[in-house]
């Protein structure tokens, strides 16, 4: 059996010694749109960042198609949260999208005509090509999100991790993003999306990961995204885990 696109073994992650994810075991299927769902502070973004090696693991490991992330980087695309960068930075829309090609170019080589052409195609996929020359501060929030999506498309990956791409975007952008996600799936890609809008989970996603500091459940949306599971994910039964985490942070029993 071929290795799954993403396999997480016993992952525990801590910020300043306070655990935010406990013993997550997860295998994600190929060619699916996968939503990561959970309340605020459930560790959704942390799960993605840990999978990408951006935060250190306290224990456990992550494998991308059966190999560690460091070996499989070229297979992975990333859309960070929009607020994570300074949008007053002096670059144009095209500059940002070109950054997606940097990984392939390697050291020293500059993006050339081929990369420019490709970046423009990625911009066209999110209906942003006419704005290629704009400074990024002049974009609306939804347009900024689409630029980030185009940059990930320029990475030309097999697996995409997206951190809240639907947060605070207009209806046109939401439709554009959903369109791109479906195209990606048709082209055989796997897309993992941190998603906060429970209303649209069933409509947009095939597979769902329910998370609240630990894995509540994961599986096809039809069978996993149930009322009972949502109760478990969002219900207030986690005080014990929370208190335990707090005790670990303080380094003494609560």
């Amino acid at each position: 059996m071929p290795a799954p696109p993403v396999e997480i073994h016993d992952m525990t992650v801590a910020y300043h010694r306070k655990p935010v994810l406990w013993d997550v075991d997860l295998i994600l299927p190929e060619r699916k749109l996968i939503a990561v769902v959970g309340p605020n502070g459930a560790g959704k973004s942390t799960l993605i960042k840990a999978a990408l090696g951006l935060v250190p693991l306290a224990s456990g490991k992550v494998e991308i198609y059966g190999e560690p992330y460091a070996k499989q980087r070229h297979l992975v695309g990333y859309v960070p949260q929009r607020e994570s960068v300074d949008w007053d930075f002096p670059v144009t829309v095209l500059d940002v999208v070109l950054m997606g090609t940097y990984g392939r170019l390697g050291w020293f080589r500059r993006p050339g005509n081929r990369e420019r052409q490709q970046a423009r195609e990625c911009l066209a996929q999110v209906a942003m090509e006419p704005l290629a020359g704009r400074q990024i501060r002049q974009l609306s929030g939804g347009q900024q999100q689409r630029v980030f999506l185009a940059r990930a498309l320029a990475q030309d990956a097999q697996i995409y991790f997206m951190d809240e791409p639907f947060a605070g975007v207009d209806a046109a952008t939401e439709q554009a993003i959903v369109g791109v996600l479906q195209q990606l799936r048709e082209r055989g890609k796997t897309v993992i999306v941190v998603h906060h809008d429970l209303q649209t989970v069933r409509q947009y996603f095939d597979h769902v990961v329910l998370l609240n500091m630990r894995l509540v459940d994961a599986g096809p949306t039809d069978t996993t995204f149930t009322h009972e599971n949502l109760q478990k994910t969002f219900g207030g039964r986690l005080t014990i885990l929370d208190e335990a985490a707090e005790a670990v942070r303080r380094g003494k029993p609560s």
């Binding site: 960042k49 460091a70 990333y78 300074d86 940002v96 940097y102 020293f108």
Partner: protein, 446 residues
Amino acid sequence: MTYLTWIVVIGTSLLGCVAGVLGSFAVLRRRALVGDVLSHAALPGLCLAFLVLGGRHFLGMLAGAFLTGLAGVALVTLMCRWTRTKEDAALGIVLSTFFGAGIMLSSYIQNMPEGGAKAGLETYIYGQAAGMIREDIYLLAGVSAVILFSLVLFYKEFKVLSFDPAFAQAQGWPTLALDIAMMGSLTLVTVAGLPSVGVVLMAAMLIIPGAAARFWTDRLERMLVLSGVLGAVSGAIGSLISAGAVKGWLGFDPFGLENEANLPTGPVIVLCSTAVFLFSVLVAPRRGLLARAWNGFRLKARTADENLLRTLFECTEQHLPTVAAVSLDELLARRAWSRVGLAWVVRRAGGRGLVRRTPDGVQLTEPGLAEARRLTRAHRLWEWFLIHGASIAPDHVDRDADSIEHLLGPEILEELEARFAASASPDAGGAVPGSPHQIDKRSKDK
């Protein structure tokens, strides 16, 4: 100009150039104060090296400054990570502690019995570019060449690292190593600049050119080049003034100094770059204060023009197709504008051929009527949307519409047209819809 002055000018412009380029990255990454910590923390290193080596050994002192400078920056990082001190507090603490230690060490050296006075360490505090010699230029040129060449070589890597470090890391760039390389170059430039500009003001040479250049362009490449040029020019002019060269050109001494080379170089260079910065803040296109004030004024003028046309249209609307003249008093009663202001707006509109003055008052011309019809339609569509789409009470919409409608772009108007046409409103179609609220006299008051 003497040969020595040339040496100084070349040295300070090299320094200004490379400091400006590197500093741009620090400014963009909001690390402007790191340069400040670097230079202040370098002082104890200089003194320690002097004590250890037992004399003024140039490269040795640079190495000492380099080490303590980096130690200072590392300490800030560690304090933030391991104690709960916030970054600004940590920067302040480290900066003043290292600087205090440096001052203490340097006065100890000054008071040493043999050779201490020759150390001239006090020049490192404010800088004395006049003391530069040919070897200093070689060193500066070497440092600048290496740093600028590396920046060109690794431009793409530094660009993605500065804009989005998390993305750069996920893409596999060794962000920590790149960060250390950047910090090391910053330290190297700072230390190389200490003898001529001094500990206290070296930070300004790093920050000010980049901050000034940011006003002129929205492209990183141009910002870096411009920042280098501004830094070099400030360095050259500053050292020329400091060396008293200006006196030679002007034929008199504008600073009233008796003897030449009396002004410390560092402060003069910094004041020169500050002048460049202030100039940029004022007159830069788009971002500058004057450009923004001008844009604000233009928007106000346009708003006034549009208000005049719409008010004229509302006064003559019921008599159409006859376009009646409207008296100034009538117009004054309609809106809260002054007589002088109204006269100015009418003159502007007259100049554009939109209205004409008649003995009875003001009258819309043919093009004016078309423009007024378009504006009124936009205004009423927006009001209609506010009432039906945003549930705002009819007696409030006029004011809300007033404050926004002048900014509505063609795309929003198209969308409004489409929604209006799709609605069952009796006015749907080409004509100007009726006002959704009572148009009273003075109803437009703020």
